[in-house]
């Protein structure tokens, strides 16, 4: 249970930033 909590919490912390990188790259590529 504890591992699941930490896993979810880490995803919540890191994934938005990672996904944001992809989103920003996509936007930039589209603009180019």
């Amino acid at each position: 249970f504890d591992e699941i909590i930490v896993d979810i919490a880490m995803k919540r912390k890191q994934y938005p930033r990672k996904i944001l990188e992809y989103v920003i790259n996509t936007i930039k590529t589209k603009q180019e």
């Binding site: 249970f1 504890d2 909590i5 930490v6 979810i8 919490a9 880490m10 919540r12 930033r17």
Partner: protein
């Protein structure tokens, strides 16, 4: 009901309860280790005493009695400390937002709004493409117009040159000169006709 303290785990990288469990186990181990060391010292001291009627078993019973009491107090005190830790130290107050979530308060977008925003972006992209195509078409037409204008000007120049040629050979206005030529030739014809009649 367990409060998973996920938001705290997001900040600390571990769940506060796990942290407290780790501290509890470590402290408890120390308590046991120290008690064990105490008992060993006492037993060793007894070895040195002649016709001592205290056996190691009896020492062990004393140790268990003392440790039993200490363990009870330890758990009670640790429980209270744990509560304070979880409330005051390893706790993110409900009114506090972690930096990585600051967007959440700035832009709470519903699904519909999000879709609308994406559609608007798509439309703008199409519109931008259209405008760019229009620009290409306009530039192409300007280019074409330049060519046509050059061609037309060339034609006009040609006409001008023709006139200049005429002028160069003494006929100021080519058209006038041609008219006068026609008139003169008609006069010549009349004259010739007249002469021929006279001659006849």
């Amino acid at each position: 009901s367990v409060n998973p303290m996920t938001y705290e785990a997001q900040f600390f990288g571990f769940t506060p309860q796990t942290c407290m469990l780790r501290i509890y186990i470590a402290f408890q181990d120390y308590l046991f280790e120290v008690m064990q060391a105490v008992e060993q010292v006492l037993v060793k001291k007894l070895d040195g005493v002649s016709n001592c009627d205290i056996s190691p078993i009896q020492i062990r019973k004393c140790t268990e009695k003392f440790l039993g009491f200490m363990k009870g107090r330890f758990d009670s005190l640790f429980g209270k400390m744990e509560q304070l830790f979880l409330q005051l130290i390893l706790h993110i107050p409900p009114n506090i937002l972690l930096p990585e979530d600051k967007f959440q308060e700035l832009h709470s977008y519903s699904e519909e709004q999000f879709q609308l925003l994406k559609e608007e972006i798509e439309q703008l992209q199409e519109k931008y493409k259209t405008e760019l195509c229009a620009k290409q078409a306009l530039l192409a037409e300007l280019e074409e117009q330049s060519v046509v204008q050059a061609r037309l000007r060339q034609t006009l120049t040609l006409f001008d040159e023709l006139i200049n040629v005429g002028r160069h050979h003494g006929t100021s206005d080519f058209r006038e000169s041609l008219v006068s030529l026609v008139q003169n030739s008609r006069k010549l014809q009349d004259l010739r006709g007249h002469i021929e009649r006279e001659g006849a």
